[in-house]
Structures are given as structure tokens and as C-alpha cells.
């Protein structure tokens, strides 16, 4: 199964490369079958969101589709859209999260809880930490964060700012993808993002 997934990644990567070669740097659009979900999200938030045009195999980015896991919008309009493939046969998981924080650019803080004996110590910590350089694609300069919290725990995460808002995409480091492959996947994801603006 792992071989199938990896092979699939290679095929997809080739397809993206071929598309890039054929189309130069032409701006792709959010794939038609995925677009309605992302458009609906942008409309609901009244803020731009990023739709990927590529996803690590076997995922797609269809909101409401087979792989959508979490779809959460906070009172502050921050959102989390998550896609998950869970390999029941020990083939590993593929898990990608997209987040946005419309109207704010600071790194949010996450709650921490430490249980010690009968006491519970509560605190907060940056949700994204351990910055390790940047990745660039399509005009986005994203910071790589290696230590992340909550749904992004054990993920490598790219975060960037656009028009006064903070956006992130992250992927879980877990079989079948190694850390290096996850970074490579995130590079492809970043290069595949297209902005979906609110309508109406």
C-alpha cells in the first residue's frame, strides 16, 4: 500500500510538473469539484481563503468529500479545515490542515495542561513554534514551524501573512511520509495555493 501511495505521489508530482511546464507560471484555479466548498467558506468568513490545487496522495481537498475531517469556524472567524486519510491496514496516515485567522496576524496561543499529582497546571504556549527558515512560492513567504499544538501537533506547518490575516497549512509527519517528504509535500502545497475571494 505504501508503494502505491508513494507511486501515486510521484505520478501526481509529474502531473503538476507537466501542468507547470505546459502552462508556464499561469495561475491555476481551484479545481472545479473542490471550489464550491472553498468559495462557500470564503463567503461565510467574508475573507479570502486559500484553496490547494494539489494534495498529497491519496487526499483531495474537497470540503464535504471523503477525506474531509474537521471543518471548524470560530467566533473570531478563524477556521480549521482538515483532510485525513487513515490507513487501517497499518499503511499510515496522511493528514493536512488548513487554517486562517482573518483580521489578525499574530501567532495564536494554545492552552497547555500539566497534570501533577492532584494538581492541574494550566498555561498557554504559542500554537506554532520552533521556526526553521522560510519557503517561498507564488509570492508567499512562509515560515516553517516544527513544533505545533492541538490539531497541528506532530505536524510541520507553514505560516504566512496576507492582507492583514494569518494563514497556515500543515501536514502530519507520520508513515508513509518522512519529515523530508512532508516538507516536500508542503512545498508543493504552497506552490499550488490559489486565493479564493469572497463573493456577494
Amino acid at each position: 500500500m505504501r508503494a502505491t501511495i508513494v507511486a501515486g505521489v510521484a505520478v501526481l508530482a509529474l502531473a503538476v510538473l507537466a501542468a507547470g511546464a505546459a502552462g508556464g507560471t499561469s495561475v491555476r484555479d481551484c479545481p472545479a469539484v473542490w471550489k464550491s466548498g472553498w468559495q462557500h467558506l470564503a463567503n461565510r468568513l467574508q475573507a479570502p481563503v486559500y484553496c490547494p490545487t494539489w494534495m498529497p496522495n491519496p487526499l483531495d481537498a474537497r470540503i464535504g468529500g471523503d477525506y474531509q475531517d474537521i471543518y471548524s469556524i470560530g467566533k473570531d472567524r478563524s477556521y480549521l479545515v482538515s483532510f485525513l486519510y487513515h490507513g487501517d491496514q497499518g499503511t499510515g496516515d496522511v493528514h493536512v490542515n488548513f487554517r486562517g485567522y482573518p483580521g489578525r496576524t499574530v501567532i495564536p496561543r494554545c492552552k497547555t495542561i500539566v497534570l501533577t499529582g492532584s494538581k492541574t497546571l494550566r498555561g498557554t504556549t504559542p500554537c506554532f513554534a520552533d521556526a526553521h527558515g522560510t519557503r517561498k512560492a507564488r509570492g508567499i513567504v512562509a515560515t516553517v514551524y516544527r513544533v505545533n499544538q492541538d490539531a497541528d501537533q506532530w505536524h510541520v506547518l507553514l505560516a504566512w501573512r496576507y492582507a492583514g490575516s494569518l494563514y497556515t497549512v500543515s501536514e502530519h509527519v507520520i508513515r508513509p511520509y518522512t519529515y523530508q517528504q512532508v516538507v516536500s509535500n508542503l512545498d508543493k502545497l504552497l506552490a499550488s495555493l490559489v486565493l479564493v475571494r469572497p463573493q456577494g
Binding site: V114, L115, T116, R146, V147, W154, Y179
Partner: protein, 462 residues
């Protein structure tokens, strides 16, 4: 021939290597450290001492460990007459001493003996001569045990003998193993445990040996190891102030031990264990600041981002009472802080030879090394040991303490169980308990290291 990055990336090369497997890469990936040869007038009384050089790393004195380390364990074959065997083993050891200088450029050999040897082969003599820990009111050599953070399936071993071989040269170690285990008819090998350390102190490369080795073996999380890290977990472990000085781990030095007739004077206790390290968990779940407070102590906020060598001299460590205070405030404790009360002298001490050991001096002498063994390079019981050909990041932990109880005090403190009875109540494998959440112990055993004069089948001549 050295490997270029392109040649070793991906781990495929490891499978193509010969007898020493991935460890052959050590010699290809790094040069042996330059060491000043100090000829010894005569060999020390102790077997466990090995002269190693010092370098300055980030302003801290760091001991340069041998590139290669190996532990070979075994049981006695049907040796009908230990008295006859004794001089033959001794002759083989002396022959190695004649061939190789007693230093890391040559070869260090330490022969340690497990409880099964003493109980089954020299039981009568052992009752009379084995050293006794008067502080703990227990024998110095204790049966192996599990600790609170050990998994239930940690294997407690029962080897008769363990031989620690240390050298910058793989060939020297191979020669010693052959001389002691292949050429002599006394031992049946039960395991070979290999590993490496250091190899990046001279600044000749952009990556340290552990990073290169982990990358070569395709270890998950290898990319996340800092480029110049001395060990997989990223912090320099062999700083001089963190290791016990020359004779401190001898049974007799700190006065803990009743040596009776003095047969074991100059000897020490050795604990041997194997641990796996979850590098992805360490680097993906702990940011740098949390790695610092986990490795050392909460509140260490002055450590420069990315630093690897954090000074741990007597003046840099907090008092033992700080541990409970910080635990109360933060709900967590650091690895280093948790063992200060047990691993450092709590007051100045003057040895019988007049050596002054200041308060805060480290007691244990560690000889641990990183490994890719899973769990061993070779084992006679692959099923029991869950042997796998897939490399895994880990440590063969080798440490010399004056007594087994002294080791246990340190190890319990690492789990928040302090010698004064205080228990820092947190899950034994919690990420709030030092390194524990990223370490998994697979095997343990205690050994006695006799002085050089009695290293060959100790007590058999009596």
C-alpha cells in the same frame, strides 16, 4: 574512501555494507580525532578508565569520546576448570594491551561480570569477597530491576560477562572481540552492541557524526537533528564537568563500600542498558526552549537559541531544593536537575589519596554511545530480544558508579523518586518528566568491574 552526501542519502548504502553494517560508515564519514598520545608508565589499576582528550565547545570543556564503542555480552561455556581458564583469558587480555595503547587511539577493554557469574560459578567465594554497600546496606552488585518509567517488557538480562571495547579504530575492536570471544573457548556470545559518538568536534564538517549516521540509516526525524549535535538528542553530553573525575566511581573512593579483604579495590559497578529514542517526538513536539528545560531544568531562559553545549559545572546547577520548588511552580522537572541530588557531591569530599572533590562534582562516569542497533547488532536470542534489521535511534547506556545502589538512586531520581523519599508526582513517562517520554528502555543489567588484577574470572583462583 569517503561518501559524498549523494552516495549515502536514503539509507540504501547501509544495506550494502559488510560485517559491521552501517557502522562502517563511521570511518567513512569522519576522521579519527587528533589525540595527544600520552604514554602510560604503567597501566592503571582500574579497568574502566580510558584517557580521552578535551576540546572547547561553545566555551565549555568537552571530553572527546572514542568514535567506536562496542559491548559484547556472553555466558560461560562449559568451563570445567576456571583456574585453568583464568590465566588463558588474562594472557589474551595482556596480548591486546601489548598490541594497542591503552587510550582511544589504541583500545580500551573493560571486562565486567554479572550476578549469574558470581552466583553460579564462584558462589562460595562471592559470599565472602563481593563488596558490600554500607550506605545502602545492600550488596554492591544488585539484581537488575525495572524503574517506574520502564515499560513492563523491558528485558532484565542475565549475562555472565560483558566486555566494553572502545577505540577510534573499528579494526582494533574487531581484533579484540575475535581474541576474546572467537579464539578462546570460554564464552558463548549472547549479543554484540555497537555504536558511535562525537566525531564532529574539530569543525571539519558541516554535520556531526550522529546526524550523518542517522541520515544514512534513514532514521525518522534524522533531518531534525541539529547539524553539529554530539548526540541524537542535540545536546553535548560529554562535557568534563558532567562526568565524574578519574577515580570517583571506584568502589573505595567515596567511602560507600565495605571492601572487606580489598580484592575489589580499584573496581567499580557498571550498568548497561539499551534505550530507543523517538527523535520525531523530541524535535516535533518540543520546541527549543522546551528541549532545554526538559534536558536541564525549567527556568533556564538564558540559553541561546540553538545552543548545544549548555554549561553544567558545579556553579551552573541549581541546589537540590530548587527541584521541588520548580516542580511545584511548573509541574515539570528537567532530566539534569532531577538527578543533581544523587549524581553530584552534596558537600566537599577529600579522598583517601588526598584528592579534593568539591561540592557539585559529578560522580557517575558515563561511557554511553549512540547506536542504530535494534536493539543489538547481533543477538543469540533474536526472538526474545525482538531483533529487527531496521535501524532505530538509540543509546547503549554504559555508566560506572561506586555501587549498584548509587546507580539506582540516579535512575529513580530521573523518574522523580528522590533519595529523601520525595516523589515528584507526575506520570513516569510524561513529557513533564525530563526525557522520559521520548526514551524507551529495552534491556538492562548490572555488572561488577573488578580491578585490572582480577579481571579474568574473578575469585576463581581462591
Amino acid at each position: 574512501m569517503r561518501f559524498t552526501r549523494r552516495r549515502f542519502l536514503g539509507g540504501a548504502v547501509a544495506g550494502a555494507l559488510g560485517g559491521a553494517g552501517v557502522y562502517e560508515l563511521v570511518d567513512r564519514l569522519t576522521a579519527a580525532p587528533k589525540r595527544q598520545a600520552v604514554p602510560l608508565a604503567r597501566l592503571p589499576k582500574e579497568q574502566h578508565l580510558l584517557d580521552l582528550g578535551l576540546v572547547q565547545v561553545e566555551g565549555v570543556e568537552v571530553v572527546v569520546p572514542p568514535l567506536h564503542s562496542e559491548v559484547v555480552t556472553g555466558t560461560l561455556l562449559n568451563v570445567s576448570d576456571l583456574r585453568t581458564a583464568q590465566p588463558k583469558l588474562e594472557q589474551a587480555l595482556r596480548s591486546l594491551e601489548a598490541r594497542y595503547a591503552e587510550n582511544a587511539a589504541g583500545l580500551g577493554v573493560t571486562v565486567a561480570w554479572g550476578l549469574p557469574y558470581f552466583e553460579q560459578h564462584v558462589a562460595a567465594q562471592a559470599k565472602r569477597y563481593l563488596p558490600f554497600d554500607r550506605r545502602a546496606q545492600k550488596p554492591v552488585l544488585l539484581p537488575s530491576r525495572r524503574f517506574p518509567s520502564d515499560p513492563q517488557d523491558t528485558i532484565l538480562e542475565s549475562n555472565d560477562v560483558a566486555v566494553l571495547l572502545r577505540s577510534d579504530s573499528r579494526a582494533h575492536i574487531d581484533d579484540a572481540r575475535k581474541a576474546l570471544f572467537d579464539d578462546l573457548p570460554f564464552f558463548s556470545m549472547t549479543s554484540i552492541r555497537r555504536g558511535f559518538a562525537g566525531g564532529g568536534f574539530e569543525g571539519q564538517g558541516t554535520q556531526s557524526l550522529p546526524k550523518k549516521m542517522a541520515m544514512a540509516a534513514g532514521i525518522p526525524g534524522a533531518d531534525l537533528i541539529p547539524d553539529n549535535a554530539e548526540l541524537f538528542l542535540g545536546f553535548t553530553s560529554t562535557q568534563k564537568a558532567g562526568l565524574g573525575p578519574r577515580l570517583i566511581a571506584n568502589h573505595e573512593t567515596l567511602g560507600y563500600v565495605d571492601l572487606g579483604t580489598g580484592y575489589f579495590h580499584g573496581g567499580t559497578h557498571m550498568h548497561l542498558s539499551h534505550l530507543t529514542e523517538d527523535l520525531e517526538a523530541w524535535y516535533l513536539n518540543f520546541d527549543f526552549d522546551e528541549r532545554v528545560l526538559t534536558a536541564f531544568r525549567p527556568g533556564m531562559t538564558q540559553v541561546k537559541q540553538g545552543a548545544q553545549t549548555v554549561a553544567q559545572g558545579p556553579k551552573d546547577i541549581g541546589p537540590p531544593e530548587q527541584l521541588a520548588h520548580q516542580f511545584k511552580a511548573t509541574g515539570r522537572f528537567g532530566h539534569s536537575a532531577s538527578i543533581q541530588a544523587t549524581s553530584r557531591l552534596q558537600q566537599d569530599f577529600v579522598g583517601h589519596d588526598g584528592t579534593v572533590y568539591p561540592k557539585g562534582t559529578a560522580i557517575p562516569q558515563r561511557a554511553d554511545f549512540n547506536t542504530l542497533d535494534n536493539p543489538f547488532a547481533w543477538t543469540s536470542s533474536p526472538e526474545r530480544d525482538k531483533k529487527s534489521a531496521d535501524p532505530v535511534a538509540g543509546v547503549h547506556f554504559v555508566v560506572f558508579n561506586p555501587t549498584g545502589d548509587d546507580f539506582e538512586r540516579n535512575r529513580l531520581a530521573m523518574d522523580g523518586v528522590l533519595p529523601d523519599g520525595t516523589k515528584l508526582r507526575v506520570g513516569a513517562r510524561s513529557r513533564a518528566a525530563g526525557f522520559n517520554s521520548v526514551l524507551t528502555t529495552t534491556h538492562r543489567q548490572n555488572f561488577l568491574v573488578p580491578p585490572r588484577a582480577h579481571r579474568s574470572f574473578p575469585l576463581a583462583e581462591l
